[in-house]
Amino acid sequence: MDNISSLNYFIPELMLTLTILVLIVYDLFLKKEESNYTAYVAAAGLVFTLVTLLSSYSNVETSLFLGMIAHDPFSFFFKFLFVLTAFFTVVISSTSLEMKGKFHGEFNTFVLLITLGMFLLASAMNLLLVYIAFELVSVTSYIVSGYLKDSKRGSEAALKYVIYGGVSSGIMLYGFSLLYGLTGTLDISEIGRILSQNNSGDLTVLVSFLMILAGFGYKIASVPFHFWAPDVYEGSPTAFTAFLSVGPKAAGFALLIRFLNTAFVSQDNVNMASWGALEQLAWPEIMMWISAITMTLGNLVALKQDNVKRLLAYSSIAHAGYVLMGIVVLTQDGLFAMMFYLSAYYLMNLGAFFVVLNVADRFGSEEIDGYNGLVYKAPFLAVCMGIFMFSLAGIPPTVGFIGKFYLFAALIKGGSAYYPLAIIGALNSVVSLYYYARVLRAMFVRGEAVDSEMPIIKTPVAVIGMLAFPVLLLGLYWAPLSDFAHASLKLLIIH
């Protein structure tokens, strides 16, 4: 489709851009103390974006802007998640004490900019656009992670993030250049076609794949590109940590799925129940190792954490490992399980970080000991955190359990070659139960009854409730979500 008629399908992105511009101008008219009013504009803009996104939904896969961008149900699924993530982040950050009086205008602008980048990342069909969207997400994240300028941890986080991000995106770019040298095109589907036709250059394909993986692995925080995650998650403002742990991670997975399923796929059996890897490149084996090591390392290190933010950071690394299990089986079931689990993870992880934010605001602690007796001090928060912890550990009746069930089912169905990975995954779930239970024990078992309740700020509590409720509801009745994920399994393929 040519550029001008593509604009009709591009309205959500344009809406987002317009909101960003309006936000910048509106912020200039506000005093510093009033800057959290910009949250209203940002939230309204996101609602409009959501409306236009829903109305632009089509069940057909089209390519926009002369093959630059895919407009398909797959990208719609992720865009939907991104808009909701950004909305909740904007709302909860406007009430966060941590960021009180600290340039909310810029913060909201940056969150929306990252959302725009993620939109493009989930739908990019061209390596050039992949890189630009990737950097739009990364560079803005660097700024926001160092947002609390007077906090030492924040500066450390930003610096580490910049260094790791710069190195890994540089390596990824080198991988892109090798791929371009091999095929002579930047178009992902064209690359896939050429690679599957000629079998020469095995080593170069492998090297370029590993280099590109450095970039993608950094976005989803998988081993060995995970080092930035704990420090950045700990040092960023908690509202942004919540955003970072679900938004860019999901965007990275969307990119990974699209890239592997389009460029590194054997063209014989695309679009069927299973899809084949490129014959000369054993990337499923590589991904299997990465998945196993990522979840094991994340869970084992999380055992020793006393800071809840850090604990959740390592747990989110482990979850990246779980989600990766879905891609190694090379079936539609696996992709479906990944998407289902990502949306489940989105609900529970966002909620857990928001509880951390609220507890830190009201009781001034991010350590596990600070959660002692939370059930007496703030019963609603404690119960919600309990739901999120149960869901993250994968215990029924929560959506986390259903997600894990789908992932393991896809693995078992894939054949006996995947049993070892399934066993490692199951063992890891058991290990992870220990550290989630530590938080639960602090909240419900330790501490003493306190008479007076602390004053409640309504908005964040409402947001947390809005996230905790679907975690339970979808754990009992998950058909809507699984239908949505099934319908979104349509990736644009150009033959």
């Binding site: 511009l21 910048i24 007077d150 020469s200 250059g201 080593l203």
Partner: protein, 151 residues
């Protein structure tokens, strides 16, 4: 398979050899007559004063960055101007959107005071009330005076 990469190796070796040869030829044929002026570092015709490893005002960076953005905008305006006649009104709107987005950025730096070279009096002075800022210790008068002198 590895033999395919042999041409890459030859390319690297050849490029290294060629660099060596050119440097060698230049060394053989050029006049070697260093004077004091030739050996000083080039600073736009000025006599260099002191060590270049000094702290200088961070606002140079800000101004340079802003300048760069609008410089790039101008670069984009040139090819646009050459095709403007054929493409007509649509390109006009397109460029107005582009310039409009940059204008928002311009308004932002202007209002935030990044274009003012002479900033309002810095807060970091001896008589600044530090009681509101618990993390900072009150600096001694000597240090504050020094910092003001740097500003």
């Amino acid at each position: 398979m590895l033999w395919d990469l042999g041409s890459v190796l030859m390319f690297m070796v050849t490029s290294l050899v060629i660099i060596g040869i050119t440097l060698l030829i230049a060394k053989l044929f050029r006049r070697d007559n260093p004077t004091e002026e030739k050996l000083t570092s080039y600073e736009c015709g000025e006599d260099p004063v002191g060590n270049p490893w000094v702290q200088f005002n961070i606002r140079f960076y800000v101004v340079a960055l802003i300048f760069l953005i609008f410089e790039v905008e101008i670069v984009f305006l040139y090819p646009w101007a050459t095709v403007f006649k054929e493409m007509g009104f649509f390109t006009f709107v397109e460029m107005m959107i582009f310039v409009g987005i940059l204008l928002v950025g311009y308004a932002y730096v202007w209002v935030k005071g990044d274009l003012n070279w002479v900033l309002p009096k810095p807060k970091y002075t001896a008589d600044f009330d530090y009681s509101n800022v618990p993390r900072f210790k009150k600096p001694d008068a000597e240090k504050a005076r020094k910092l003001q002198a740097v500003e």
